[in-house]
Symmetry: C2
Subunit: 708 residues, 2 copies
Amino acid sequence: MAESQSDVVAGATPPDLTRLFSPRGIAIVGASEDPRRIGGQPVKGLTQYGYQGSVYPVNPGHATIQGLKAYSDIRDVPQPCDVALIALPADKVPDVIAQCGEAAIPFAIVLSAGFAELGRQDLQDKLADVIRVSGVRVVGPNCTGLLNLKDNVYSGFGAGFRNPNLKRGPVAMVTQSGGFGYSVVAFAESEGVGFSHMLATGNEVDLTSMDMVEHLLATDDVEIIVCYMEGIRDGRRLRRVGARALACGKPIVVWKVGNTARGRKAAVSHTANLTSDYALYKAAFHEGGFIEISDTYDLVDVVRALQQHRLPRGNRVGILTTSGGAGVVLTDLCEEQGLSLAELTEETARTLKELGGSFAAVSNPVDLSARLAGDPVAFNDATRLLLDDPNVDIAIVRSFAGTASDVWARGLSELLDQHTKPVLITQSGLASQSAEAQKILENKGVPCFPTPGRVVRGAAALASYAGKLARRRIGKAVARDPHVNLELPAGTQVLSERNSKKILASYGIPVVREQVLLESAINALSALPFAFPVVVKIDSEDIPHKTEAGGVRTGLRTLAAVKKAARDVLKSARRYDSKARINGVVVQETAQGLELIVGGVNDVAFGPYVMVGLGGIHSEIMKDTSLRYAPFDGHTALEMLNELKAHPLFTGYRGGPVYELASLAAVVARVSQLMIQHADRVAELDINPLFVRPDGSVMAADCLISLK
Amino acid sequence: MAESQSDVVAGATPPDLTRLFSPRGIAIVGASEDPRRIGGQPVKGLTQYGYQGSVYPVNPGHATIQGLKAYSDIRDVPQPCDVALIALPADKVPDVIAQCGEAAIPFAIVLSAGFAELGRQDLQDKLADVIRVSGVRVVGPNCTGLLNLKDNVYSGFGAGFRNPNLKRGPVAMVTQSGGFGYSVVAFAESEGVGFSHMLATGNEVDLTSMDMVEHLLATDDVEIIVCYMEGIRDGRRLRRVGARALACGKPIVVWKVGNTARGRKAAVSHTANLTSDYALYKAAFHEGGFIEISDTYDLVDVVRALQQHRLPRGNRVGILTTSGGAGVVLTDLCEEQGLSLAELTEETARTLKELGGSFAAVSNPVDLSARLAGDPVAFNDATRLLLDDPNVDIAIVRSFAGTASDVWARGLSELLDQHTKPVLITQSGLASQSAEAQKILENKGVPCFPTPGRVVRGAAALASYAGKLARRRIGKAVARDPHVNLELPAGTQVLSERNSKKILASYGIPVVREQVLLESAINALSALPFAFPVVVKIDSEDIPHKTEAGGVRTGLRTLAAVKKAARDVLKSARRYDSKARINGVVVQETAQGLELIVGGVNDVAFGPYVMVGLGGIHSEIMKDTSLRYAPFDGHTALEMLNELKAHPLFTGYRGGPVYELASLAAVVARVSQLMIQHADRVAELDINPLFVRPDGSVMAADCLISLK
């Protein structure tokens, strides 16, 4: 849950990038006379497209460049100069960064390629060293630069930087691939999206896309941030940025790529980044203010829906069409995308019937039929009825196709002045055939989508994002359980099952009862403190995978069987690993119930998380698991259990038992507390299996904890 | 498999619709002077947009209509008149159809609404009766009509029929929703798709969309059929049409809606159709020449990819970009859509390296880097290398963005004269910025897609459709096993487990051994012909669900336990249903192994099919099942088993056994033979559970067959 993020992933104050984005002066190192060259484009862009600061070309041997006085050394450039834009061969870059440090230039943007992305990790490491020493904060290398349309800062090269007419708007684009990023911007612009910023972060040797996003979250006039992401080294930072986005109500529309095995390989060779597991990104996107997309149209649709500045209170859609077919299509798509169809009140249905007459279908989807298709007033009356209905959160209206479409559009605009619910339009014909109506609606911020799939995508994004904001408002911080002191042994090691279970027990997690049985005491065993059948397991820190070592016997129903099993597992274990330190065996009661796996991992990049799933094939083959970052409360744990596809097993599947899940949820939440409270030492934790019984009682039958 | 369809779903010869599509004369009953009215639009369309046949307005009390001689009775219209277009109030339609019959007019298109779709099933039934008696073949009612752009036949009303400039092309649209269908056509046309026909079938009281599709499959110049489908009453017909489409190599691009519970409800209220289960449609689409889509863009992308007239030999994609980011995105999308990335040969990589220099990434996706982005010749050389590579089946090329894009496009066109592999372009910038290149490529039939998602969608459709054609070519008819005579009792009934298993046994399917034990023989039982543990079950035709009736005891390990269990289940069964005829009990050996469910259903609409899945939760909750129409062979059965998500359980999951699956596949195929050979009597069949053991041996532990 979002409410738990802030304290967990708290990090350093982000760098102040004001002067990077709005510099008073910019030096271009490697400036060129030719405005088509990489070193020449920014000279042209910064002098001809309205930038108000100073521009200082640097290139020894030139008195002037493109009409400006040129300097032979970055250190000669007049102050204030806030940014050095570097377009030099890669091997010359480190020296120039050092010179920027000497000249107290706080920022540099390195356009040059030829670093880690081409196998020159050595040169990139050298650059990193120089950056650290110099104190200069660097964007790149291997990037296309930074475009700030608010201040006409054209600090880069490529098609985006050569276009002074890019449509202005409240959307900022941060991309880890400059070339691809601009093609996305160009496409989105052609669909009507306006931009405030576009910037590419390249190899991210110093400043990262997360630094950029965090700055933009605090930038006035930026309403939406679009982020093309190949990989993030600091997952905690991603989560922190997600929490901040949610707090300030600015959505981050994120396009995460490199998610398949093949994709990952390609991402590595391109950005020289380590790409973490997609599931961890998904979990971070889920908890934070992100909306995930996977194609350029997605981006356009989500942004246009958000720009209406109306968020729904829920996910119940009212659909208004004049074609039954469109209603069926939209209904299918809504269900697929997690939206539900509103049940209209009786009053709405009755009034719609009066309006539409015998040809209309007045249940949702509402089909006014072709008879009303020519009456813009009736059309808007029906829309009003949908918006008035308390069960409708979002209206999807098929556009009015008659000749009076401008009358319809004006009426709809007026209607929206009296309502706060979002209305999304799906085109019944071509937008070009109702240009006037289109314009009226656009001015009102009403998004029109050309296909049913796209209008539903927009509505689904609104509902999901609004749900996040609402949950955040009603949520409260996860109560921290009192810190439990654990006597953890020093050093990296895997704890024995017995010691792992002691830790669970000290967190109030029920574990199977057991009795330690030393080898010397086997013959004398005369009673057990719990009932048969029982389990015998080898007890050794050196044998974490006991089954493989032949160290487990189950279903033992007599003392004689227990004694034989004890001797057998000792023999098997010694044969398996003659050097293993063996404490003896453990006799355990047999746990019963439905089998689950609960695991915690302290991920290097993202921090501690907890996963839950049903045992065996469910988790491992069917991938039916749920994952959240720690810590979280029982409410979230219950949400995780409800997310499992196998969830019907808890609720009386085939006449089976109904499980009381509160205790199970509490255990999962306790594991998350354990993972966060001991994040400094606990690397991984597996409770496998954990049994739950219909009465709600829970019992951990095995556990493995590894320390770092 | 497609090869098995033809003989299974063979039906009557489809009606000859030549004169419906290309009539020599058309009467318009209810013709109007006003060209905006439903009865006026076709008079205008048929007289002003190039139709060469005769047009006969019918409306008593008018001497002329829109300048044409008008008739007061359809029976007075001169011959030849092949089609009567009817635009009258609903209740007048049946009489006019009868009059058409008297006048020997073979076809009528009923535009009028007011039948089953508005609750007047009585009127629709009356219409059906008149149709049967008259011999007239009828399209509609409640439809927008038929548009044949080859012969300029504008037999309908609505926006599509008022537009004489609709782009001509080889695509025919058949839709069950006229209004929605035209909006799709208009959108697709605006994206460059050209049409030959557009027709709506409305309530389908007589002629169906399948009749239309089958006619179009046999129509010259129609290359692709697009079908918007809400529901089909005759599933076998759908399958037959799918087989025919595959045989003649014309893909049917199908948009099936009304698939969710909510969607189904809406579909019923709209088309007054019974919508069968979506899974049955999916299986029909899978076996036949269909390509399924779910949005308007899908349609455009699939059609444009197909119109290149190049089909790949496999699904291995070679990607060429000048942006690493685009390569990563395309790679992700290919994997998601079931395409694989080609492993380039060493020679291709070496030659690419020579071409691209140190900045290029020469493994797939190939990134020529921004350095080669300005060199159209090098760009095409690289494309040639991809096409020459024997491991590449399809090339996806990011468009050349430099100023010489027309040079690139011309070079690529020439290149394609020497290659047969499909090439799909993904736009790097806006199409409008390279209009000349765009035009050159379009003339060559090379499809250009604006986003990565859409180009990959197009490639995936090509690969999947080409795969179907290839399988069809290499496939052979399913060998029919010799017909097995079953002594089935007469009448609709559910057979007892024992009798059901006898039927399995007569089909060579192994069943658990068992011994019948009459109540009178319980006390005397002294030995069993198989080992303990055993199962005792009640034996009664009247108790199909034995567990519910307390009629099953498992895990019995002694004769005493068997006797007690026998008495217990008899008592329980009598308490459960005092009227049930009880034969006694059955003692069975205990089957072991991995538990599966194999079921067969003789669907009323689609015919007999067989489903297989793992037992319990896998099939019922996780919906992890595979379905094919009967009959099929062991090869297809193996394909079904491999499709299961739980398939890793067969192949040594967690050190578990590896299962020999040949016998299991044979059993599944035998079930399909049983279902088809006895389709006249067997309604349903459940083998649940069916056990398979690692050595491949298979045993049915329970079976239920119901007869019709």
